[in-house]
Every structure is written in C-alpha cells, then in structure tokens.
Amino acid sequence: MEVQLQRSYLEYCNALFREGFLDGQFVQLQMLRDDSNPDFVMEVVILFFEDSQRILNELSKTLDEQNVDFKKIDANVHQLKGSSSSIGAQRVRNACIAFRSFCDAQDVESCLRCLQQVQQEYLLVKSKLEALLRLEQQIVAAGGVVPTLNDFS
C-alpha cells in the first residue's frame, strides 16, 4: 500500500518541481528532517502560511490607503520574498521580485496587479504544499517512510 503512496508522492513532487512551484531549497528542507525532528518541514511550512497571510493582509491594507507608503510595501514584499525563498516557493518568490520593481516605480495600479499575482501564486503553492504534506502523513500512517527527493535545483 505504501509503495503506491510513495510513488504518487514522488510523481507529485516531480510535477511541482517541473512546474516551478518548488525549487531546490525545498529539497534542502526535506534533507534536514530526521527522526528527532520528524515534523520539521511541516512546522516551517505552517510558519510560512501564517507569515505570508499576515504580509498579504498588510499589503492589501497599505495599498488601500490614500497616501500609499511604498517603503512599507517594499519592506513587506522583501520579507515575503525572503521567506518564500527560504522554503523553496519559487513562483511566489519570482512574483515578489516583480512586485518590488513596480514598487520602485511607485505605481499603485501596477502594485495592485502585482499583489493579486502574488496572492494567486501563494494560494496555489499553499494548496500544493497541503496536498504534499497530506500525502506524507498517509505514507507514515501506512507504516512507510517518506522518500527522499533528488535535488532539482
């Protein structure tokens, strides 16, 4: 039973890497997980969700103001870029990089579009990561070991 699950897991991961949702940094995270810290990846991913949601809310609020504080926007996007980079959420990170260039131009309209783009990428990777973690849990519950990924970076 778990062989099937493991195969599905690997296929799913391969797809995520191919489509650019995740990059080699995610593999680095997987490599850090061990018996004494089995939930490490899950913990970091959950932290990422909480942190990102907070930042996205902040960005929304700031862009809604009369006089948009672009410095604040830039700082927040920088933070999100950093955390998505640390977790390997490549598309979110790239969306943040694009966002920052429009921030420099101080263009509210473009920033709003960028925010939408980042939100979209975030929600996508969130659902994919949740599915991935669920698969891992199923493998473990079936008595199997989560297969190690190759570095796709």
């Binding site: 940094q25 680095q28 995270l29 490599m31 850090l32 810290n37 490490f40 913990e43 970091v44 932290l47 990422f48 942190d51 700082a75 920088h78 933070q79 870029k81 950093g82 955390s83 980079s85 640390s86 977790i87 390997g88």
Partner: protein, 229 residues
Amino acid sequence: MGLATVEAQFHVLAVDDSLIDRKLIEMLLKKTSYQVDSGSKALEFLGWNDENSNEAFFSPKTNQEVEVNLIITDYCMPGMTGYDLLKKIKESAVLRDIPVVIMSSENVPSRINRCLEEGADEFFLKPVRLADVNKLKPHIMKTKTKESQKPENQDDNDEENQESEENNNSTSNKQVEETQDQLQSESPSQQQQTASSNNNNSKRKSMDEGVSPDRTRPRYNNGLTVMSN
C-alpha cells in the same frame, strides 16, 4: 582528527527578523542555538551595556552564564543592520573574538566586502544551505577550548581562514590595517584596533592552549534559549 575528540557542544546566536529563517538556521546547525530577532536584542543577550559601550562589561540578567561560539546574523533588519551589529561586536573587547557570519538575500559585492573588511568571518547568500553551514565548523572550533583545529575550508572571500597560525595572525593584521585606513576620523577606535590586533594575536595563540584568562563571558548551564517574539 581533532574534531572527534571534542564534545561538540557549541552555541550559536542567530539574529534575524524572520522567524522562518531562524528556524531554518536552527535546524541547519542542529545543535543548541539561541535565537533573537534583532541586533539590539542580540547585544542585550550578549550582556552589552549601552552606558559602558567603550568597554563592554557583562551584566547578566541571571546568575547563569552563556557561552556563544558563533553569531550568525541577517544583514537587513529593522533598527540595527547586521553590519551595525558586527561593528558593535568588533568594538567590544570581550565580544570581538566571537566569529560573526552575515547572511543576506541580496548579492551586493560592495556590501559583502564591507562586512568582510569589518571582520565578518563568512558571508552567506540566502537561502542558507547545508553546504554553507559546513563552512562554519572551523570558526566555531576557534573559540572552543582544547587542541588547535586546522580550518578545513579555504574561501577566497575569507581572509581569516588560513592553514597556519602565522598566516592567521598576519592576515588578521592585514584586515585590521585595512579597516584602520578607512576609519580615519575615528582615532579612539583606531587605537582600539591596534591594541586589538596585538591582543588578537596573543588571544588566538592562547585560545589554542586553553581558555584565555580574560574571558569573563557568562555561561548558561544548559539548553535552548529562544528570545524571539
């Protein structure tokens, strides 16, 4: 190999405003590490007292002692940057021997050079990986007691990482001199730097023989101290 005989219990102070990055560093290092989320908290943790910033003396909050073998800090932080923190550490007679590693998500050569010239032992680009963390061992071992440990890695950017003691001393002198040239307006710290370069030489040697008697660094008895918000 020297490493095998040493009980590798070392403590790293991680300074970063991102909780995710702190967690990552914690796992990468896989030993007990302390965490704080700002440069000012880092200094507080290290026992820095602002009123006596000329000679940092230790006013530990408890009677316990803490030993920090390495400080790894983010560059971009609100309030105090990693560079500012590095400068403060290097200005302190007691803290300056702790190796400092700076991390940044941005690859800016002038920034990297500035940090290395100020005395940073390594500069990592984020996201930090296992391969980067492996470079830290020699720096951590430098501040441990016991026998001398030859650094394993050569790094073009890292002048301090040399094979022999003599090279170590002469390049640290070189780094200090370069910094001195830049700090033309600050004569007190220049004098401090000259004194420190001599102290560094003897400190490096004495560290290999055993704990330097000057070290009054406070120590915690055990474990993990997380000071993040």
